[in-house]
Amino acid sequence: MIRLQQTRKALGSQATITIVAAKPHQILSKLWAKIDDFEAQFSRFRPDSELSQINAKPGSSVTISPKMHDILAASQHMQQKTDGLYNPLILPALQRAGYVGSWPHPKQFVTATDYRGRQSAPRFKLTKDKILMPKDSALDLGGIGKGYLLDQLANWLLVHTVTNFWISLGGDIITHGFNLDDRPWEVGIQSADTSGILKTIINSDGSLLAICTSGTTKRGGEAWHHIIDPRTDKPAKTTIATTTVCGASAMHSEIAAKTLIITDGQQVEQMLRTLACQKAIVQRTIDNRVISEAFYA
């Protein structure tokens, strides 16, 4: 068995794929291709993406591909599950908060189409092949994209009988199986003050385990708070620095991590239960010093 690991830039951050298999090279190539395809189709930073085409026609009924339908249906489902705390239509508010572009590289800043003049909206309508966008709004899949993609990649690997892997997209991770010599994967949870590792989560039984971290800390070296509270259309007011959620689904874990920030860590147990997640770690800081960390199992 060979353990092959590759790291490169993707989805505006760092992506790492690690596979333990007899012939991992081809598998890695296919996974990178899937990640590239996903970005090409769903990124709001690509003017030719399908998402950008939808956002170019607010108030219209737009025909969508089956893959777009899938992710939009997942978005609607998550929106319902979280009572609207996750909302893919807060892009105008996100941009007004300053998050207009992305930082794929410290020296490069990519600007997206400017929707700051538009409004957030509570929901969109979806039929089997069309989306009806609210008038004057814009859609963003950033709140669900990494988790959704991680689940898709994991499922693809399992269907193709690749059972030992971990994949990280910008610090959100999914694992399955075991490392070389049948050792369990061990995932470090970074301390919110970036001083090191707070805890290590061990995937002892090798089942599908996603670990997603969201935070109000730094992005590209700048203090950056990009988690919009749909109830106020402004960055969430919170004392939380980071939340980390573990579960069998990366999409659920990612959404849970973000909504816990929006709710300032209220009702963690209920959120974990609603989104079928298993564990959460909430870290709070003042002046970049961790003042409390709470673990939920």
Partner: protein, 303 residues
């Protein structure tokens, strides 16, 4: 069970007919460093009366830990603990932990109780303070005669003046508030009047019963501890009940301690678009070409 000082857990147990009780939440009073898990429960309703009568050997189901009302061992700001009555329980865990680990975080406890004679953990709190220069404890009760007041015993209730003194002494303190609803409101209003920022105040409210209905669906998360396999106390009952001692072994499966893993930021400066590392199970990790780098451990973080 790995937990942070200040957290709580849900308890349930089996009736004689084999049915499980609904669970109730109680603060963990033991230190995270202790071998045993301890809870302090005020006997009031049916559940607490029943749990007080449990014989040694009863299986008690523990779920958790829960809560964000926690004291991180890594934080170094001064801490002011404001406890009302039974609200002392999460703070006792914090104080025990700080004392055990000999941490030097300055901690001031202002503890308001109905009667000084019935103040839970009175002796232990005084002992912790006497043995730890960084910890000071002050009891407030209306039955303390004014002519018998001293630094530790103050007649009456915690007021704005006492809070102002804490702020004057520790301008960057964190304030932890825990007690009945009325106490919490009074104290948080006083903190606000003294211009303490809300992000410096952590509040824990004790409801009359914290229902926890998870257990039926969360079989994978339950930890059942057979008390008969263990030696001594986990549960201490207040206000007159006989002590019932169960040891609940700590479940260590969820926490394995921390690893010093270097967070890799190499990709920001890395000129090649892809970094690759390959290893096999028959050889140890190798760096056998300039295009390869050390194997990275997975670290979940904010990107």
């Amino acid at each position: 069970m790995g937990f942070t000082a200040g957290q709580y857990a849900s308890l349930s147990f089996m009736h004689s007919d084999g049915s499980l009780t609904p669970s109730r939440s109680f603060s963990i009073v033991s230190s995270p460093s202790d071998q045993n898990l301890s809870f302090a429960i005020r006997i009031g309703g049916r559940f607490t009366k029943d749990i007080a009568r449990l014989p040694v050997g009863t299986i008690v189901q523990v779920q958790g830990p829960y809560g964000v009302f926690t004291l991180s061992p890594r934080q170094t700001r001064p801490v002011v603990l404001l406890a009302g009555g039974i609200g002392i329980t999460p703070m006792l865990s914090m104080l025990r932990f700080v004392a055990q680990e000999k941490l030097t975080t300055p901690i001031t406890l202002l503890y308001s109780c109905r009667s000084i004679d019935d103040a839970p953990f009175y002796d232990e709190l005084r002992q912790i303070a006497s043995q730890n220069p960084a910890i000071s404890v002050h009891f407030f009760a209306s039955d303390i005669p004014k002519d018998q007041q001293d630094r530790q015993h103050i007649s009456g209730r915690i007021n704005d003046g006492h809070i102002a003194q804490c702020i004057n002494r520790f301008s960057d303190a964190l304030f932890y508030v825990c007690g009945p609803k009325g106490f919490n409101k009074t104290i948080t209003d006083a903190l606000a009047r003294n211009n303490v920022p809300s992000n410096m105040v952590l509040i824990e409210s004790f409801a009359s019963a914290k229902y926890n209905a998870f257990w039926g669906d969360w079989s994978a998360q339950k930890f059942a501890f057979v008390a008969s396999a263990m030696a001594m106390a986990a549960v201490t009952f207040l206000f007159g009940a006989a002590d019932i001692h169960h040891i609940l072994d700590k479940d260590t499966s969820t926490v394995k301690g921390s690893q010093a893993v270097k967070q890799s930021d190499d990709a920001d400066e890395n000129e090649s678009p892809v970094t690759t590392n390959a290893s096999s199970s028959t050889t140890s990790s190798t760096n056998n070409s300039s295009a390869q780098s050390q194997y990275q451990q997975p670290v979940s973080s904010v990107s």
